[in-house]
């Protein structure tokens, strides 16, 4: 009898403790939600401000004018042409190499120290600050390979920068293909390359495309490495046209031309004290932001579509 009172008191205490803990729990739900929404809201406000600041400059002239000393006449013609050409070089270099490296690591590589070295390298390269790629390019591409401060040098630099992204994405896509599909093909006498080419790659196209677009969307906004190799921010001419009137109709002279790019142009305008130029910077930033978000949106859409289409 004497012990029955004590557990009863403890029960009261337990109850109080429980409701206190539940209260804290509820508080955290609110705090967590507020913190998350606040972060998203701050970023949203910043983006809306960016678009509002740049809004007066949006217009056809902005896309078809060169940079100028007069802010109201300056445009991004050289910048967007430069960015497009650099992205072309980057995609042509990074995608085949990245996909090939991923195929090697997933389908061919034996499990040994040598493969481990390649894998560690890919992981580490993803963590190297982007400006270090710029230094690499400055020493290697610009001076050793004598490419100069050209579109080719910039494209190669960004290709190296996004290579780990492409490799990792492709590996994930390849890994998602079930073993049974490979084994069925091997069972019919296909060689490793035939299995890869005819079965694994078609099934992983969606993932590879997603990785490629995500990589390029990273490359399009990278500023530091191409400043390091010496992009000019004031360029009032276009690179030579890749299409010629006479034989052989295509020309690669544009690869050697100096260039500017969207983020460089924006950086140049941001660093000027004149508020008129700040409006230009905001407009360029909004367009750049639109490009990256569009590319990411496409990547997400592709991933979603392919996921729906395939059911093993």
């Amino acid at each position: 009898m004497s012990t029955s009172a004590a557990p009863y008191r403890n029960f009261e205490a337990l109850r109080q403790d429980l409701s206190r803990r539940k209260l804290i729990d509820q508080l955290f739900v609110i705090v967590g939600l507020i913190v998350m929404l606040a972060c998203l809201a701050i970023l949203a406000v910043l983006f809306i401000d960016l678009i509002r600041d740049g809004a007066p400059r949006f217009g056809w002239d902005f896309f078809t004018s060169f940079a100028s000393r007069k802010p109201e006449r300056a445009g991004i013609l050289a910048a967007w042409v430069g960015t497009s050409l650099i992205m072309l070089v980057t995609a042509i270099c990074a995608v085949p190499v990245g996909v090939a490296a991923a195929i090697y690591l997933e389908e061919y590589a034996p499990k040994n120290w040598f493969t481990a070295i390649i894998e560690i390298n890919v992981t580490n390269l993803a963590g190297v600050p982007s400006i270090v790629y710029g230094l690499l390019a400055l020493g290697l591409f610009v001076y050793q390979f004598d490419l100069g401060q050209s579109i080719a040098a910039a494209g190669l630099t960004l290709a190296l920068l996004i290579l780990p992204i492409v490799i990792v994405a492709t590996r994930e896509a390849i890994r998602a293909v079930p073993k049974a599909i490979r084994e069925a093909a091997y069972g019919l006498g296909a060689t490793r390359w035939e299995v890869t080419k005819d079965h694994v790659l078609p099934y992983s196209t969606g993932g590879i495309l997603t990785g490629m677009i995500l990589g390029l969307s990273r490359a399009i906004g990278e500023t530091a490495p191409i400043i390091t190799i010496g992009a000019l921010s004031f360029i009032a001419f276009l690179p030579q046209s890749p299409i010629k009137g006479e034989f052989p109709f295509v020309s690669f002279e544009w690869l050697k031309d100096p260039f500017t790019a969207m983020p460089i142009q924006m950086f140049n305008w941001v660093s000027r004290p004149d508020p008129e130029f700040q409006a230009n910077a905001a407009a360029a930033g909004a367009i750049l932001l639109g490009m990256t978000l569009l590319m990411n949106g496409i990547a997400i859409w592709i991933r979603y579509r392919y996921r729906k289409k395939i059911n093993w």
Binding site: V35, L50, A109, S271, G285
Partner: protein, 315 residues
């Protein structure tokens, strides 16, 4: 009859000879393709070697002019002035200060959001917010630089009256905000990887969701969380455009975030914007700065790696 049989047999044998040579061709083709794929894989290794080699070669030329003692003890960094000083400390101080400010923002916010998303949020909220976080991670950093200079600094100037137009505080805050989506998305992945039965065990003992989150899930996911924050730190250390735009480019030996200062990355940008001749001491100095940047990143990664190792939980 026998002759016919023989000819069929012969045909079959000769066919198998053809298919054997075809098989040999296919195997040979496989070998050739494999070596091409291997070369592509080696590009990553060559890139690493090239980065280290270029940094070391150009820096060694720099250290022929500048002693290591001066490099690590001098508190002035003025390689482009007539009175040249080559002390890396001001740049390191700038880098560490902006990184610290960024972490003060990113660690509490990132962890809170990750815990909320992983343990509390309804699945629709999580499915909506996760892609947004990933999308935010893709925003070009030069855009964040614009935010820091033209939007965050004016707000801060209202709070801190004599804050200069260029300051590390604003740059650091924006870097912090920039890495929040990244860190919280990675942390959330790590926490989701903690098996369900561990949570259920904790609930069965009468713990609330928050207690489970803090005492079971966070310790269980510690190695993943450490990796997420190390990646965040690496990004903050290597962040270039935000500091180049918003923190000013004057080397300044201070740990006070209210002051303007240059980071290692901002210095490299500043030199690259000018037109320094190849082989000059100014040109070499950016490689020495880059080497220090790599070293700092490496130190954080080694710490992260050992943390990950020590606290790895196997399920």
């Amino acid at each position: 009859m026998a002759a016919i049989k023989g000819s069929i047999l012969n045909e079959a044998i000769s066919k198998s000879v053809i298919s054997r040579s075809a098989l040999r061709y296919r195997k040979l083709r496989d070998r050739v393709i494999e070596s091409f794929l291997l070369i592509a894989g080696l590009v990553a290794v060559f890139t690493t070697i090239a980065i280290v080699a270029i940094l070391l070669i150009e820096s060694s030329a720099f250290f022929e002019h500048v002693s290591l003692i001066e490099f690590f003890t001098d508190t002035m960094w003025t390689p482009l002035f007539a009175d040249a000083h080559y002390g890396i400390l001001p740049l390191v101080a700038g880098t560490l200060t902006t990184t610290l400010v960024a972490l003060v923002v990113a660690v509490p916010l990132g962890t809170t959001i990750a815990i909320y998303l992983s343990e509390f949020a309804p699945s629709q909220v999580r499915e909506t917010v996760k892609p947004i976080l990933e999308l935010l991670g893709a925003v070009p950093t030069v855009v964040y630089g614009y935010f820091a200079l033209t939007m965050v600094t004016p707000v801060l100037q209202r709070l801190i009256p004599d804050l200069p137009g260029f300051n590390m505080l604003s740059a650091g805050l924006v870097i912090g905000l920039m890495i929040v989506p990244y860190v919280s998305s990675l942390s959330e992945d790590a926490m989701r990887a903690v098996p369900r039965y561990m949570r259920e065990g904790s609930y069965a003992m009468g713990a609330t969701r928050l207690q489970t989150a803090l005492r079971v899930v966070v310790p269980g996911a510690f190695s993943g969380l450490a990796a997420a924050f190390i990646l965040g730190i690496s990004r903050a250390v290597g962040e270039t455009m935000v500091v180049a735009i918003a923190a000013g480019m004057q080397p300044n030996f201070t740990f006070d975030p209210r002051e303007p200062a240059a980071t290692i990355t901002a210095y490299i940008v500043q030199v690259s914007l000018g037109d320094l001749p190849h082989g000059s001491i100014g040109y070499q100095s950016i490689f020495a700065a880059g080497l220090v940047l790599m070293a700092i990143t490496l130190v954080f990664n080694v710490i992260g790696f050992s943390l990950t190792r020590r606290f790895r939980e196997a399920y």
